[in-house]
Amino acid sequence: MNNSVRKKAPFGAALDNTTSLFAAAAIGLMTTFAAPSEAQAQDSSVKVGFVTFLSGSAAGPFGVPARNAAELMIEAINAGAVPGPYNTAGIGGSMIDPIFVDENSKQKNADYLKLVEKDGVEMIIGYVSSGSCKAIAPEAEKAERLTILFDCGTPQIFEEIVTDPKYTFRTGGHATMDSVAAARYLVATGAPAGTIAGINQNYAFGQDNWRDFSGTMAQLSSDTEIATEQFPKIHSGQYGSEISALLTSTPDVVHSSFWGGDLEAFIIQGSARGIFERSKVILSAGETAMHRLGAQMPDGTIIGARGPHGDLAPDSELNSWFRKAYFDRFGTLPTYPSYKMAQALLGVKAAADKAGSSDQDAIIGALTGLEWEGPSGTVSMALANGHQAIQGTAYGTYKYDKDTSSATLVDIIHFPAECVNPPAGANSIDWINGGFEGAKCD
């Protein structure tokens, strides 16, 4: 398989320059760093902090694609080069002046406050990890600074942590959408689901995903039983025992919200031992791995992208432009973290342009309850008093095309936003356990 390994930097070339090696290593000692401003010299600019994983195991599959998308979109927005209706320069007339900060830090709150108080950013867009979002959302409300959570998934953010948000927004759907849609896909395709098992990371995102998936299955198929629930530590990488437990409990369905290196390790170890042949496996974040693993991802795996992103995104001028611009610049197609970053930035631009200003209060006022088009389709800030986005989503079944050596999704099913997200004012788990009251799936 040609794409089994990605070559980033030539080995010899990197070692030739020991000076730069040690200089870069020394720079790496700092837990956070700020990239120099890339904003063009304009009369009016708005300083924006971007926080994603620039180091650690989440950097490669999530943080770096998100940062890449941010760089691409900032340049295009500042130049007015995004297709309409975004073809005006800047946001509300101001150029975006970015500061990038590493989310892989032991002092996330201090890093956040530094951005607000020392760097003087006017808004912050960031946070991949649900753990980060749980820590930052209350901090944003306290600091009274506009903060856009672009990726993290736990529904707890506005249901338990900050129940009356003023300054915090999330422009991507939360994990309930992923889990409900996964279960609905399973039922819609008629796959046997008498017994289900889960292997999810032992923190908010993994726990919430399994809670919502198993809860939805219980509602949709009342005779479903749970075979085993595995919650290995995040980034543990070794799943031999868990896979044995999945094999010995013989479930019809295995659900996993694994992501990053954990996801790839599970696919390698699980496929080597036949778990994908014995059970129908659902990977709710599988889209980030399918192009990288190619033929190594077993055919028949149910794949999600935490929204209608990547290969699940609809055909549109904006999507085509985004995919082409991203591929031309980075040599690879954008995966869902890239889509979600673009979605966040276009949401901010739509709000600022609507308000005619890049001032915080103006953007907050316009973004609350806003509806806009992203590369993945329509996004509505419908929940949490207009601070939490919903959007339709989709799942597909993996099929490796040997003729073209490419990863594809077949049997794609789209779900309307109101079908897989709770209505405004409803708590996710109550909505699921109550039988999805108000869901519109037609």
């Binding site: 089994s4 730069s20 790496g28 629930e229 595995q230 070794q238 044995s244 954990d262 390790a265």
Partner: protein, 298 residues
């Protein structure tokens, strides 16, 4: 019965990985009294070297069988280079300093190695699954296990026996035990203590790199894997007694079986089980099961 078999095989597999990943750490501590935080960096270097080499090689379409030579070769090259650079370039200027200071120094080295790996191999993850699939699977009571997992178990046993033999049955090993006992007297007797230190550190680095290299085909090699292994390795060698090869083996077995039993019998306690057994052992034997006897100089 099925669960018991699964616990036994899974526990053994996890223990083998733990032992390979931590034996270099306990060896360096036993000889040099350095709690080497950079060990995670050696592990990561081994994993990246192995995955990178396997990827380059398999991209040529050649037979996968030779990748089984690439794995130890990658570990050897990465471990020797990194071990020599760290020991000759930094640590030799620090010998005799307080153990706590050495922890800080080696932690700094670990951070540098983390960034060096990113500089060389980037932030993307590497997968090099071919060796893990090459021999297929065998079924144990109906549960499929990769043959590669048993190769790891065999390698761990071989490494343990080789170290035991080298330390206790060879002249160099016996001299090393003398150095461990008293480095000043050893020097006075004409033993080249500096050379032993360098050789031990490099061997420890190679073993750390081997742990990473042999694991690489089973995982996604990505930034941060070095940090994960340090914590587990410390748990293993603390349980066994820091500086003891046999202790590391026993510690790995205890942790391996505790974790496997937890996953099969009570999954929510998976992580807790490791530290529960560590706390239980330390409550009874505060310096670990096989702690080396400390001689006091008056």
């Amino acid at each position: 019965m099925l669960t018991a078999v699964a616990i036994a095989v899974d526990g053994l597999g996890f223990a083998a990985w733990l032992f390979l990943s931590s034996v270099g750490l306990t060896l360096i501590y036993g000889v040099m009294r350095i709690l080497n935080m950079a060990h995670g960096g050696f592990y990561a270097l081994g994993a990246y070297s192995s995955a990178w080499a396997i990827g380059l090689y398999t991209a040529t379409g050649s037979t996968v069988a030779f990748t089984f030579l690439l794995i130890p070769l990658a570990a050897l090259i990465a471990g020797v280079i990194a071990g020599l650079v760290v020991e000759r370039g930094i640590l030799r200027f620090m010998y005799g300093r307080d153990e706590v200071l050495m922890v800080l120094v080696t932690y700094a080295i670990f951070l540098i190695l983390e960034d060096a790996t990113k500089l060389i191999w980037g932030t993307d993850s590497y997968v090099a699954w071919q060796p893990a699939f090459y021999f297929g699977t065998v079924e144990v009571f109906g549960i499929p296990y990769t043959v590669y997992k048993f190769l790891i178990i065999g390698t761990a046993i071989a490494v343990g026996l080789a170290l035991f033999y080298a330390l206790n049955r060879t002249r160099i090993g016996k001299l090393l035990l003398v150095v461990i006992e008293d480095r000043e007297i050893s020097g006075a007797l004409g033993i080249n203590v500096t050379l032993f230190f360098t050789a031990t550190f490099v061997l420890g680095a190679v073993l750390g790199a081997l742990g990473g290299a042999i694991t690489a085909p089973e995982i996604s090699v990505s930034p941060g894997i070095g940090a994960e292994i340090i914590v587990l390795s410390f748990a293993v060698i603390v349980i066994g007694g820091m500086g003891s090869i046999g202790g590391a083996m026993l510690g790995a077995l205890i942790v391996g079986f505790a974790r496997a039993a937890s996953v099969h019998l009570y999954p929510p306690a998976e992580l807790f089980s490791i530290y529960l057994v560590m706390a239980a052992v330390l409550a009874v034997k505060p310096y670990g099961l096989f702690a080396l006897a400390e001689s006091r100089k008056i």
